[in-house]
């Protein structure tokens, strides 16, 4: 930061000479430019008497001022927080509510080994997924609640589940939050099940999709891992 000197008002009767010009104009310009060696830096008034440098942003950035008028840059993802649509979708407002850094907006998970449901008849079990084919937005965990896909962006989603069973009888439920039924199908002696629903609203924080299996044939129902067939579970963001 560099001090500069207020230039006095010049009235009739004041004598302006080279020393005056050097003192006020030359010195002040030097004061402003001192410390701004990097291309892209900008000067700003730190207070009534001081010029400070605003260093150029490290990457693409948006200029903002805080409530005290101090400028800074929002860079990268945080720049998305400058403005957003209002909750009722009628205007542009400030703030970071409901803003998430979203990379691919799709999550596809599967089991890389056979999964056998060994359960008494008519007792449900979670279908878990131990491998993530695509999960750049971290909507799924292989460690905790691996049976869920929890989208972190509020909006509408298409969801799909597919599985092949080599034998046995039973069914599958596709659900939201393990309570709202989105689809169901059954097999009597093995076969393929494909469940899908379109445009399901998710709140972007706690809502999740899950799949439950329930054997009914009195014997094991084995969900076989077959590349390209399943058991696959996919959720895809389609819009707000």
């Amino acid at each position: 930061m560099t001090d500069y000197v207020d230039v006095p008002i010049i009235a009739t009767g004041d004598w302006i000479d080279a020393a005056f010009l050097n003192q006020y104009w030359g010195d002040n310009f030097r004061a402003i430019f001192q410390g701004f060696a990097a291309a892209g830096d900008m000067p700003y008034a730190f207070d009534a008497n001081t010029i400070a440098p605003l260093n150029k942003p490290a990457s693409i950035g948006l200029l903002q001022n805080d409530e005290n008028g101090v400028p800074s840059y929002l860079i990268g993802g945080s720049a998305m927080q400058v403005v957003r649509k209002s909750d009722d979708n009628t205007e542009i407002v400030y703030g970071d509510v409901d803003i998430a850094i979203v990379k691919k907006r799709i999550c596809t998970v599967y089991n890389n080994a056979d999964l056998t449901a060994v359960l008494p008849n008519y007792t449900e079990m979670d279908v878990t997924f131990n491998t993530e084919e695509t999960d750049a937005d971290d909507w799924h965990s292989t460690v905790s609640n691996s049976h869920r896909i929890t989208p972190l962006l509020a909006g509408y989603y298409d969801v799909e589940f597919s599985v092949y069973c080599g034998g046995g009888a039973g069914g599958f439920y596709l659900r939201k939050n393990n309570s709202v039924a989105l689809g169901a199908d059954s097999i009597s002696n093995g076969g393929t099940v494909l469940l899908s629903r379109r445009s399901i609203y998710m709140n972007g924080s706690t809502d999740y999709f899950n799949v439950r299996a329930y054997p009914t044939g009195g014997s094991n129902m084995t969900m076989q891992y077959v590349a390209g067939l399943g058991p696959y579970f996919t959720a895809r963001f389609v819009g707000k």
């Binding site: 001090d3 000197v5 207020d6 006095p8 008002i9 010049i10 009235a11 009739t12 009767g13 004041d14 004598w15 020393a19 005056f20 003192q23 009534a48 008497n49």
Partner: protein, 161 residues
């Protein structure tokens, strides 16, 4: 420098008997330079009053018509713009000083300065800098006497009332 520079000091520096005489002489030169048409007649004072201000230790007023600043004095409260001749009116304008002008003046004089270079006090004050940069010898009518004193007190400067 224990004073504010006024039009009286400028007149004295230029060896004029009064502010009025200084205005008459300088205005004649300005007319010769075709700045405006007619000089002041030395008598007529009229039109809207201009407000006194203090800038860097100097007592001034701003022309209501063109924005030019001129030195003024509490002893002779007249203002004549050497840029527009008070809109070629041939009149000097009255100058309005606040009622507590003497105390405002004292509050500003209490603020120390580094005098600038110059052979006379007008030039020395014109080129001066404040010792405490937040305490300039500057004032405008929107600043109250109490605010000036409060600013002074914040930096340990008391003023005799």
């Amino acid at each position: 420098m224990n004073k504010l520079i006024t039009a009286s000091d400028v007149a004295k520096r230029d060896k004029k008997d009064s502010v009025a005489q200084w205005i008459l002489d300088v205005a004649r030169m300005r007319v010769a330079q075709k700045k405006f048409k007619g000089p002041w007649d030395g008598k007529t004072i009229g039109g809207e009053a201009v407000q006194v201000i203090v800038n860097n230790g100097r007592v001034m007023a701003r022309c209501n018509a063109c924005g030019q600043h001129e030195y003024v004095s509490a002893q002779e409260k007249i203002f004549f713009c050497m840029e527009c001749g008070n809109e070629n009116s041939g009149e000097a304008r009255p100058v309005e000083f606040p009622q507590d002008w003497a105390r405002i003046e004292a509050a500003l004089i209490a603020r120390p300065i580094f005098p600038g270079p110059g052979l006379d006090e007008v030039q020395a004050v014109f080129r001066s800098r404040p010792v405490i940069r937040e305490l300039k010898r500057s004032w405008t009518p929107d600043v109250t006497l109490e605010q000036l004193l409060e600013q002074n007190r914040a930096y340990g400067i008391g003023v005799k009332s």
